[in-house]
C-alpha cells in the first residue's frame, strides 16, 4: 500500500471515528496507541479436527457437542469426543439432504437445530438426533441465522426489505425486524463511494440470548446492533478498538484498492494488522457479554452497553480462525480454523475475567 493510500485510509478511519463520536454520548476518546499493550493475550490449546474436507463452514455448540457445517461436503459433523465425529446428511435435494448449506443455529434449549440449505432454498429444522422436524422454503438469500424466542427463526435477509426476516418453522415468513444498513452511511468523505455503496449490506451474523435479545454483527461494516426481545433497537455503534481507534472500513479499503483481493480480512497500517471485518459473534449466556472474532483473528468482548474491549490475539493456536462458539458447560470458547482444520479452546473464565467496566471505550448509543 502506498503512503498516500495509508494516509487516506487513516484519514477516513478518523472521520469514521468522528461520526461515531457524534452519534454517541460524549466520552473520552480512545487513546491513540500503535502498540497492543492495552490488550490481554489469550492462551489457547489447539486440537486437530478430523474432518475430511472443508471450504466454507459454520460452527456452533449444542451443549458440549460441537457442530460443524461443511458447505463443500454438504454435511453436518458433530464432534462427540476428540477423535469421534458423527456425520449427518449428504449431497441432495431430498429431506435431510443438503446442497451447499451455509448457516447453522441451535435453539437456546439445545433441542433443535436449524440449517440453511442454500442450494435448495430452504431451512431444515432437526431435533438433536438429526430427525427432520420441519422444512421452510426460503427464496431470498440468507446470511445469518438464529433461533428467537417463541420458536421463531431469524434470518439475515435484507432483500426482503428489512434487516432480519422472522420465520415460523411451520408456517414460513411471518414478519421482519430492524432496518438494513448501507456502507454509504459510514462514509462522509467520498460522494462517489456513497453512490456506489448505497445498497444494503447483506452479510450478518446473528445471535440471540435466552431472554430473546438479538445481537447483529455486520460482517463488512464495523458495526454491531442490539435489539430487545420485542424487536426494538436498543443499541448501535461503530466499533472502536480500545487503544487503537476506530476499525477501518472494509468497503473503503476495497474502493481505493488498499486491499486486493477483496477477500482480505485485515489491513496493515504502520506495521499493525487492523481488522477489516467481523468474522463472527457469540453471546455468553450467563453474563450476556458478546464475543467478537475480528478479521485479524483478535477476540474482543462487548458488554450490554456495547462497550468494546479488545482481548487480542490467541497464543498457542497458530492459524486463521473462521468461527467462534461458546461451549457453556465446559466454560470454553471455541475458535475453529478452516485452513488448518483445527480447533482452539480458550478458557472462558480467564477471558471474561477482564471486567467490562474497565473498558476504555465510550458508552453505547441508546435508542
Amino acid at each position: 500500500m502506498t503512503a498516500r493510500k495509508k494516509l487516506s485510509l487513516v484519514a477516513r478511519c478518523a472521520a469514521l471515528f468522528l461520526v461515531g463520536a457524534l452519534a454517541v454520548p460524549a466520552d473520552p476518546p480512545a487513546r491513540k496507541d500503535e502498540s497492543r499493550v492495552t490488550a490481554q493475550t489469550l492462551h489457547g490449546t489447539r486440537q486437530r479436527l478430523s474432518l475430511r474436507i472443508a471450504r466454507n463452514w459454520a460452527s456452533v455448540t449444542m451443549g458440549d457437542r460441537l457442530l460443524v457445517l461443511d458447505s463443500q461436503s454438504h454435511q453436518v459433523a458433530a464432534k462427540q469426543s476428540a477423535e469421534n465425529w458423527s456425520l449427518f446428511g449428504s449431497i441432495g435435494n431430498g429431506p435431510g439432504e443438503f446442497f451447499h448449506p451455509s448457516e447453522i443455529a441451535v435453539d437456546p434449549m439445545g433441542q433443535k437445530i436449524a440449517v440453511y440449505d442454500a442450494g435448495n432454498h430452504r431451512v431444515q429444522v432437526f431435533d438433536e438426533t438429526f430427525r427432520l422436524l420441519a422444512t421452510v422454503a426460503v427464496q431470498k438469500k440468507v446470511y445469518g441465522l438464529a433461533w428467537w424466542r417463541g420458536g421463531y427463526l431469524l434470518l439475515g435477509q435484507p432483500e426482503e426489505g428489512a434487516l432480519l426476516s422472522i420465520y415460523d418453522p411451520r408456517e414460513g415468513f411471518v414478519g421482519t425486524v430492524g432496518e438494513s444498513a448501507t456502507p454509504s452511511e459510514f462514509s462522509r468523505l467520498q460522494p462517489g463511494f456513497r453512490r456506489t455503496y448505497s445498497k444494503a449490506v447483506n452479510r450478518t451474523r446473528i445471535v440471540t440470548t435466552s431472554k430473546g435479545d438479538i445481537w447483529v454483527a455486520f460482517l463488512h461494516l464495523p458495526l454491531v446492533r442490539r435489539y430487545s426481545s420485542d424487536g426494538r433497537l436498543v443499541g448501535e455503534r461503530p466499533l472502536v478498538l480500545d487503544g487503537l481507534g476506530p476499525l477501518p472500513s472494509y468497503y473503503e479499503a476495497v474502493w481505493d484498492r488498499s486491499i486486493d483481493p477483496p477477500s482480505a480480512t485485515y489491513i496493515n497500517i504502520d506495521g499493525v494488522q487492523l481488522p477489516l471485518l467481523i468474522k463472527d459473534i457469540a453471546v455468553h449466556s450467563d453474563t450476556g457479554t458478546a464475543l467478537l472474532l475480528l478479521g485479524n483473528d483478535w477476540v474482543a468482548t462487548l458488554d450490554h452497553g456495547l462497550r468494546l474491549r479488545l482481548v487480542s490475539e490467541v497464543v498457542g493456536c497458530a492459524g486463521t480462525f473462521n468461527r467462534l462458539a461458546i461451549d457453556a458447560p465446559r466454560r470454553v470458547l471455541l475458535l475453529t480454523s478452516l485452513e488448518e482444520s483445527a480447533l482452539c479452546e480458550v478458557n472462558l473464565d480467564a477471558l471474561l475475567g477482564v471486567s467490562p467496566s474497565d473498558a476504555g471505550s465510550e458508552g453505547a448509543a441508546e435508542h
Binding site: G92, G175, S341
Partner: protein, 355 residues
C-alpha cells in the same frame, strides 16, 4: 406474536364491502372501461383454450422427485436425446464455460469404470459457434456433446430445460430425478456419483509436503517458452491450477496470473515460474484464453493426469481446496513451501507497493 417493532405482513388485508360495489358501478358506466373488460375476458378465454390444448400453461421443471417418461428427442443433425428405463443418466444443459466439467465427468467415468455400468451422460451445450465434435475428439470423450439449439425448443421445455438456464440432473434407472440443480461444481459431481453409483475410492491419499520431491508429471506444453524441466533449479515456482472448482473462476484467475507475471518479473527475477494446469482443463480453451491475455512469455503446461498430492479431493488439508496452489521448489527439485495463490499475490502486491 405481539411485537411492537416487528412488522407483520399479515396485517395488510385488502378492504372489501360497500366501497367495492360503488367502484364497480362507476367502472361499468364508462365505455372505455367496458371495452377493456371485454378485451381482458377475451384474452383470458383464449389463454384457457390454449392451456386446454397444452399450448400454454406451466411448463414442468426438471426438479427433484419428478418422474420422467421414456422419450426420444431428435436433433437437427440427427443426434438423439434418449431416456429409457434401466440406465442412470446425468443430464446437463450448460454453456461452453462448462466444458471443463464435461471433461472432469469423462475422467470420473474412466477412473471408475462407469462406461461398463449403465450410466450415460447427456450433455447439451448452448453454443452455436464451438465445433463440439472437435472438443469430443481432443478429449477422447466416449459420449457425445450436443448443441442445445439443434433440438426442438418445445420438447426440451417439456423435459424441464427452460431457455438458456443451466440445468444439471441425475436420473435414476426408473427415470426419477434424484438430484437437480441450476449450478454444479466438480466436487459436487464427484459426490453425487459416489453417493448414487457407489464410485467411492478406497484408501487415503497423502498430501504433498515440504521436503517431498515435486511429483513427476507427464506434461505437454501449451504456451510460452520451453523449459529445461530436468535441469536442477530451472524452475523455482510451480503454479498449479487444480481441478477443485474448474468451473468457478478461471477467467479471474487468468487475469491474476497476468498480474503475477508482471509483478514477479519486476521484483525478484531469479529462477522461473511455470504453470501447470490440471488434466481436467481443455487445451483448446486454455490456448484461447492465454492468447486473449497475452501470456505468451510464461511457460504453461497441461498435465496428462491429476497432480497427485495436490488436487486429490480426499486430501485433508484445507489449503488444498484452493483453486490455484503455488509450490516453491529448491535446486534439487524438492518442495520448500506450498501456498495458496491469493496469499502469494498479496505478498507480491505488498512488496510492489513498498518499492
Amino acid at each position: 406474536m405481539k411485537c411492537a417493532n416487528v412488522k407483520s405482513i399479515r396485517s395488510s388485508q385488502p378492504g372489501t364491502g360497500s366501497a367495492g360495489s360503488s367502484w364497480w358501478k362507476r367502472l361499468s358506466q364508462s365505455s372505455t372501461a367496458k371495452s377493456m373488460v371485454m378485451l381482458t375476458l377475451g384474452s383470458a378465454l383464449l389463454a384457457f383454450g390454449l392451456y386446454k390444448h397444452k399450448l400454454l400453461g406451466p411448463t414442468p421443471a426438471l426438479e427433484y422427485g419428478r418422474q420422467l417418461a421414456p422419450q426420444e428427442i431428435e436433433g437437427v443433425g440427427g443426434q438423439v436425446l434418449r431416456l429409457s428405463e434401466g440406465s442412470w443418466y446425468f443430464l446437463m444443459s450448460a454453456s461452453t464455460d462448462d466444458l471443463a466439467l464435461v471433461k472432469y465427468l469423462s475422467q470420473l467415468m474412466e477412473g471408475n469404470g462407469l462406461h461398463f455400468k449403465s450410466f450415460q451422460p447427456i450433455v447439451l451445450i448452448d453454443d452455436e459457434q464451438e465445433p463440439l465434435t472437435e472438443f469430443e475428439f481432443r478429449n477422447f470423450l466416449t459420449f457425445p456433446v450436443m448443441a442445445l439449439h439443434t433440438f426442438p425448443h418445445n420438447e426440451l421445455e417439456n423435459l424441464g430445460l427452460h431457455g438458456h438456464d443451466r440445468a444439471y440432473a441425475l436420473i435414476s434407472p426408473s427415470l426419477e430425478v434424484v438430484f437437480a440443480s441450476s449450478f454444479l461444481q466438480t466436487n459436487d459431481l464427484r459426490l453425487l456419483l459416489e453417493k448414487h453409483l457407489g464410485t467411492e475410492r478406497q484408501g487415503s491419499v497423502r498430501a504433498l509436503e515440504p521436503g517431498d520431491a515435486f511429483p513427476s508429471l507427464r506434461l505437454s506444453q501449451v504456451a510460452g517458452p520451453a523449459l529445461e524441466l530436468h535441469v536442477p533449479g530451472s524452475v523455482r515456482e510451480w503454479m498449479v491450477f487444480t481441478a477443485q472448482c474448474i468451473t468457478c473462476s478461471l477467467k479471474n484467475q487468468m487475469e491474476q496470473l497476468a498480474e503475477h507475471q508482471e509483478l514477479f518479473a519486476s521484483q525478484d527475477g531469479s529462477g522461473e515460474v511455470a504453470v501447470i494446469f490440471s488434466s481436467s482443463f481443455d487445451e483448446y480453451d486454455l490456448v484461447a484464453k492465454l492468447q486473449q491475455l497475452r501470456l505468451s512469455t510464461l511457460p504453461v503446461y497441461l498435465s496428462a493426469s491429476p497432480v497427485i498430492g495436490l488436487e486429490d479431493p480426499y486430501l485433508q488439508k484445507s489449503l488444498y481446496v484452493e483453486d490455484v496452489l503455488v509450490v516453491d521448489v529448491d535446486d534439487g527439485g524438492r518442495v520448500v513451501e506450498i501456498r495458496g495463490f491469493s496469499e502469494v499475490m498479496q505478498g507480491l502486491r505488498a512488496a510492489g507497493s513498498t518499492r
